[in-house]
């Protein structure tokens, strides 16, 4: 049970830090709103509703990227990652705690973004919401691991989108499919498979990313 305690402690730490610093979440919120506005101008008049649904997913992915880029920023700026790794907890607990924290940020950003999307463009059905929920898990699981890799590199924030976007292709397919196609079950299944597979290997391999 100490594992769960560790995870909760780590997640709470990140959420508290954000509560005090208030830099990541407001940026994500503002970004997603601005993106939705830009998309209006990016959609020529004859574009269908379907095109705007696709753009919703683009907004979600890039908002998540914005948040993920900050995932290990505090640890990196203050050289805390070594300290965290030396802590007597399973390294994968660090990943799990961080993933939960990121998930919270992303969900909060979407709580604003989805109603706004419904206002600006078109209504959102249950399958879209289910798709967003499932996609969040995959995005945060993979994104947190990749953020740790990017933190170890000299290029830092530049690396994360390069690493993340190819892996985001199945998420976008699953999400857009769930939003657009009537028989959304297959796409939700794709998202579920992605989440399961990548969460497991992220959880298992995080240790190797932060240690030597």
């Amino acid at each position: 049970m100490t594992y769960i305690r560790d995870v909760t402690a780590l997640a709470r730490k990140d959420l508290l830090l954000e509560l005090r610093a208030r830099d990541t979440l407001p940026a994500m919120l503002l970004f997603v709103v601005a993106a939705l506005v830009v998309f209006h101008f990016a959609l020529p008049g004859s574009s269908s509703q379907l095109a705007s649904k696709g753009l919703l997913w683009v907004a979600i992915i890039f908002t998540a990227l914005l948040g993920l880029a900050r995932a290990f920023a505090a640890e990196r700026e203050q050289g805390l990652l070594d300290g965290l790794v030396l802590a007597p907890c399973d390294r994968s607990a660090i990943w799990l705690g961080k993933t939960f924290a990121m998930l919270m940020f992303l969900v909060l950003a979407e709580v604003v973004a989805l109603p706004l999307y419904a206002l600006f463009y078109s209504g959102i059905g249950w399958s879209t919401i289910a798709g967003v929920a499932l996609a969040n898990l995959g995005i945060c699981a993979v994104g947190t691991l990749l953020a740790a890799m990017a933190a170890a590199s000299r290029a830092r924030e530049l690396m994360l989108p390069l690493l993340f976007l190819p892996l985001a292709v199945p998420i976008v397919v699953g999400g857009v499919g769930a939003s657009v196609v009537a028989a959304s079950g297959r796409y939700l299944a794709l998202l579920a498979v992605y989440d399961a597979v990548f969460a497991i290997i992220s959880w298992a391999s995080f240790e190797y990313v932060v240690t030597e």
């Binding site: 890799m149 690396m159 199945p170 397919v173 794709l190 498979v193 190797y208 030597e212």
Partner: protein, 227 residues
């Protein structure tokens, strides 16, 4: 034992023989395809190159797993070289596939070819592998991170394929009918020889690059010992 020590020579020899044999079979023996005509002959190189690229990525992932698991000293280098080769063969797949699309359907690119789209995604993924590797200082951290990324890649292959297949339902590409290879016996034989040739070529290039990099490393150690 002799094979292990002379892997480079053996694979280069095999590659020379098999590639020549493949070219002879393709251009002098196998009959011209009734439907697609002469342009179908690109298929004898394009598909084996694609399959060999998958093998390279798989081999790279296997070496990466070995590195994380048992830590043999050369595994990281072998993983890197395998993935490097996989990217080269992947680029060749995209180029030959594009030429085939041009000659078959008149356009240089089509989103309806699952194979090409999958390779594009994988190419982006493994290109990022090199960006990642070059932005981390050499050492055990770089080796570990590269290994984890290589494993992610090999897991991405089937999931991407699934995703691309599902995406076709809502992307509605103009479907170009290209009937799968219902090959006559002689065509299948030629295909197999060509595939063996590509694998031999990849192995030879792999051993060559590995030898070069190992020599580099040894010379550097020698220099440090002498200076």
């Amino acid at each position: 034992m002799w094979l292990r020590n002379n892997a480079l020579v053996a694979s280069a020899g095999a590659a020379a023989v098999l590639v020549c044999a493949a070219v002879v079979l393709i251009f002098f023996w196998v009959p011209v395809d009734a439907d697609q005509g002469f342009s179908q002959k690109i298929f004898y190189f394009h598909v084996p190159i694609a399959l060999t690229a998958y093998l390279c990525f798989g081999w790279g992932a296997w070496k990466a797993l070995l590195h994380l698991w048992k830590r043999p000293p050369g595994a990281d280098l072998e993983s890197y070289v395998a993935i490097h080769l996989g990217v080269i063969f992947g680029a060749l797949t995209l180029i030959t596939g594009s030429i085939w699309a041009r000659v078959s359907w008149g356009i240089w690119w089509t989103w309806s070819s699952r194979q090409l789209v999958l390779f594009l995604v994988l190419f982006l993924f493994y290109a990022a592998y090199f960006m990642l590797r070059y932005s981390v200082d050499p050492g055990p951290a770089r080796a570990n991170i590269s290994a984890v990324y290589a494993l992610f890649g090999v897991v991405l292959i089937p999931i991407s394929f699934l995703a691309i297949r599902l995406a076709e339902d809502f992307i509605h590409p103009t479907v170009f009918t290209s009937r799968g290879p219902q090959m006559a016996g002689s065509m299948f034989f030629t295909f197999c020889v060509s595939w063996a040739a590509m694998i031999a070529l990849a192995t030879a290039l792999y051993q060559l690059e590995l030898a070069g990099k190992r020599m580099d490393r040894t010379l550097r150690e020698l220099r440090e010992a002498l200076e």
